[in-house]
C-alpha cells in the first residue's frame, strides 16, 4: 500500500499546552480510517495541519509526498469538512455547493443532488439560519460529493438525527465502494462507525495510543465473566484494563488475544467470554492511560 499521508514527529504547542505531542503515523491509500479521541485530544489540530489550515510547531507532514502548505496541486486533492465550518454570510446552501463544484475537480453533482434531497436541506434558506443538523448536512454533502482523494470528516454528524446519520454512513460506504478513496473520520459515536472503519487511530492527550486494523482490535481484548475467584485466577498476570463486580460475579476486561488453550481453560472453568466493542475498548484504554499518567505524575511529585 502506498501511503498518501506521512506524519513524522508532529508537535503542536499553544503556549504551555501541548496539543499534539511528537506524533508519527501514515495513512494508506483507499482505506477508511477512524480517528478517535476525547474532546481536546488533538484530532482537529492534526487534521487542520494535514490540510495546511494550521501550522506545526515542529515535525513534518507529507501529503502525496509533498508539503501541503500553499500547495494548490496537493490541496485540490484534499477535502476537510469541519464540525464548526463557517460559511459566507449571504450564502444559501446551493452557493456553497456551487463553489465546492468549482474547487474540487472530482465533484459529482448527481450524488450531491441526491444527498440534498435525502437530508432535506432547504435550498432557499441562508446557511446561517439553518438548524445545527442541517448545517452538518451541508458539510456532509460537500465531503461526499467532492470525491477528493483524501477526505477528512471532523465529527460531521453534530445535530444529525439517527436517520440522517444512517443515510450518511450508507451513502459514504456506497460511494466509497464505487469510487475508492481515503477517508479519515473523526467521531465520538464509535460503535456507530465501527463497521465503517478499516483502521483505528486512537489519540489521547496529543499522543497516538493505538494504530491498528479494526479487525485486529476486536480480537485484542475480551470480557471474562463468571465467578470472581475463577475470573481472578484466570486473569492473574494478564493486562487488566477494567474490572466490575456484582456480588460473587465479576466481569474483567483483559488485553491480548485469547489462545485456543485459553478458551479451553475458560470453558472448563465455566467462565464466559464476551466480545469487547470498539467503543468499550476505546474508553478502557484511554481511562487506563489516564490513570497511568496520573500515577506517574504522583510518583514524580514524590
Amino acid at each position: 500500500m502506498t501511503p498518501v499521508i506521512e506524519v513524522t514527529g508532529l508537535t503542536k504547542r499553544y503556549g504551555d499546552t501541548v496539543a499534539v505531542d511528537d506524533v508519527s503515523f501514515t495513512i494508506d491509500q483507499d482505506k477508511i480510517y477512524g480517528l478517535l479521541g476525547r474532546n481536546g485530544a488533538g484530532k482537529t489540530t492534526i487534521m487542520s495541519i494535514l490540510t495546511a489550515q494550521n501550522f506545526a510547531t515542529s515535525g513534518g507532514v507529507r501529503v502525496f509526498g509533498e508539503d501541503p502548505y500553499e500547495n494548490a496541486r496537493a490541496l485540490a486533492r484534499l477535502c476537510f469538512v469541519r464540525e464548526s465550518q463557517k460559511y459566507p454570510d449571504d450564502a444559501l446552501p446551493h452557493h456553497a455547493f456551487r463553489t465546492a463544484r468549482l474547487f474540487f475537480p472530482n465533484w459529482n453533482q448527481e450524488i450531491a443532488d441526491r444527498l440534498i434531497r435525502e437530508f432535506q436541506i432547504p435550498t432557499k434558506t441562508r446557511i446561517k439560519k439553518l438548524s445545527r443538523g442541517q448545517l452538518s448536512a451541508v458539510g456532509v454533502v460537500i465531503g461526499i460529493a467532492s470525491r477528493a482523494e483524501v477526505t477528512f470528516f471532523d465529527e460531521p454528524y453534530l445535530g444529525l438525527d439517527a436517520v440522517a446519520r444512517q443515510i450518511f454512513y450508507d451513502r459514504l460506504l456506497e460511494d466509497y465502494t464505487e469510487h475508492p478513496r481515503t477517508i479519515i473520520l473523526s467521531s465520538h459515536l464509535i460503535d456507530e462507525v465501527s463497521n465503517l472503519i478499516e483502521r483505528v487511530l486512537v489519540i489521547d492527550r496529543g499522543r497516538i495510543v493505538m494504530d491498528e486494523d479494526t479487525d485486529a482490535v476486536r480480537d485484542r481484548a475480551a470480557n471474562i465473566v463468571g465467578d470472581t475467584a475463577a475470573v481472578d485466577a484466570f486473569v492473574a498476570g494478564r493486562d487488566v484494563i477494567h474490572r466490575e463486580s456484582l456480588g460473587r460475579v465479576s466481569s474483567v476486561t483483559v488485553l491480548g488475544t485469547l489462545t485456543p488453550a485459553d478458551r479451553d481453560r475458560l470453558a472448563a472453568q465455566g467462565l464466559d467470554v464476551a466480545p469487547v466493542s470498539l467503543q468499550q475498548l476505546f474508553v478502557r484504554i484511554t481511562q487506563s492511560a489516564a490513570e497511568k499518567a496520573a500515577a506517574s505524575e504522583e510518583g514524580a511529585l514524590r
Binding site: S48, T51, A52, Q53, N54, F55, E70, N71, A72, L75, A76, L78, C79, F80, V81, R82, Q85, K86, Y87, P88, D89, D90, A91, H95, A96, T99, A100, L102, F103, F104, I142, A148
Partner: protein, 231 residues
C-alpha cells in the same frame, strides 16, 4: 489562475456586501443631496452648490475589506484554497467593485457637467478640484481611494485574525504616534505653508499616486500576515 478567479466567484456570493450595499449607500446619498439642492433652489439659492456625499460608499469599503476576510477566509480554507489564491482573488474582487463605483462616479460627473448640475447648478460627483485634471484622473482617484479603504479594512481584519485585538490596537497606536510625530516635525520646522503648498501643487493626480503607494504598502503588508493566519 482559474482557482484565483474562482475565489472571485466565491467572494461574490456575498453580493449584498460587494454590490448592493455600496450602490444603496451611493444612491441614497445622491438622492438626499439632490433633494437638499432642490430645497435650496426653491429658497432662491442659485449659486453653484457642491456636496461631498459621493464619498459615502468609500467609508463602507472599510467594512467590505473586513468582511472579505472574516466571512470568506474560513470557507475558502474548507474549499482547499491556498492563502495566496484567496488573497489575489479577494484583491481582484475589490478592484472589480471599486471599478464599478468609479465608473458610476465618472458617468454621474459627466452627466452633471452636461446638464449644468441637474439643471439646479448642484454638483454631487463633479467637484471642481477633483475634476481639474479631467474625468479619467477623477475616476482613478475614486477607484484608488476605494481600494485604499478596502486594503485598510482587509489588513486590519488580517492582523486581528492572526494576532488578536491587542496587537491590532497597538498597530493603530503606533501609526497614531507616527502621525503625531510627523505633525510635530512640520510644526517644529515651521513648514506648514510649504506642506499645504505641496499638496495643492501635486493636485488630484499627485494625490492619486500617493494613495496608490499607500494601497500597495498596506496591501503588500497584509499578505505575509495572512500567509500564517489560521481560519
Amino acid at each position: 489562475m482559474s482557482r484565483t478567479l474562482n475565489v472571485v466567484r466565491m467572494q461574490l456570493i456575498n453580493r449584498q456586501t460587494y454590490i448592493w450595499i455600496p450602490l444603496i449607500i451611493l444612491g441614497a446619498s445622491f438622492a438626499i443631496t439632490l433633494a437638499i439642492y432642490g430645497i435650496l433652489l426653491t429658497a432662491g439659492v442659485d449659486t453653484a452648490k457642491f456636496g461631498g456625499g459621493a464619498q459615502a460608499p468609500l467609508w463602507y469599503f472599510l467594512a467590505v475589506g473586513v468582511q472579505a476576510l472574516t466571512l470568506s477566509f474560513p470557507f475558502s480554507q474548507a474549499m482547499s484554497v491556498t492563502r495566496r489564491e484567496f488573497y489575489l482573488g479577494t484583491v481582484i474582487t475589490a478592484a472589480l467593485t471599486s471599478a464599478m463605483l468609479a465608473v458610476i462616479f465618472v458617468v454621474g460627473g459627466l452627466i452633471e457637467q452636461a446638464t449644468n448640475g441637474w439643471g439646479m447648478n448642484g454638483y454631487f460627483f463633479a467637484l471642481d478640484w477633483l475634476w481639474a485634471d479631467g474625468p479619467l484622473v477623477a475616476g482613478l482617484f475614486f477607484f484608488v481611494l476605494a481600494m485604499l479603504f478596502f486594503v485598510i479594512g482587509f489588513g486590519s481584519a488580517t492582523v486581528y485574525k492572526r494576532f488578536g485585538a491587542l496587537w491590532l490596537t497597538l498597530v493603530y497606536v503606533a501609526l497614531a504616534v507616527l502621525l503625531v510625530g510627523a505633525l510635530w516635525l512640520v510644526g517644529r520646522t515651521d513648514t506648514w505653508v510649504e506642506v499645504f503648498g505641496w499638496f495643492a501643487e501635486i493636485g488630484s493626480g499627485g494625490l492619486t499616486l500617493l494613495m496608490v503607494g499607500a494601497t500597495i504598502l498596506v496591501g503588500a503588508t497584509s499578505f505575509p500576515v495572512l500567509r500564517r493566519a489560521v481560519p
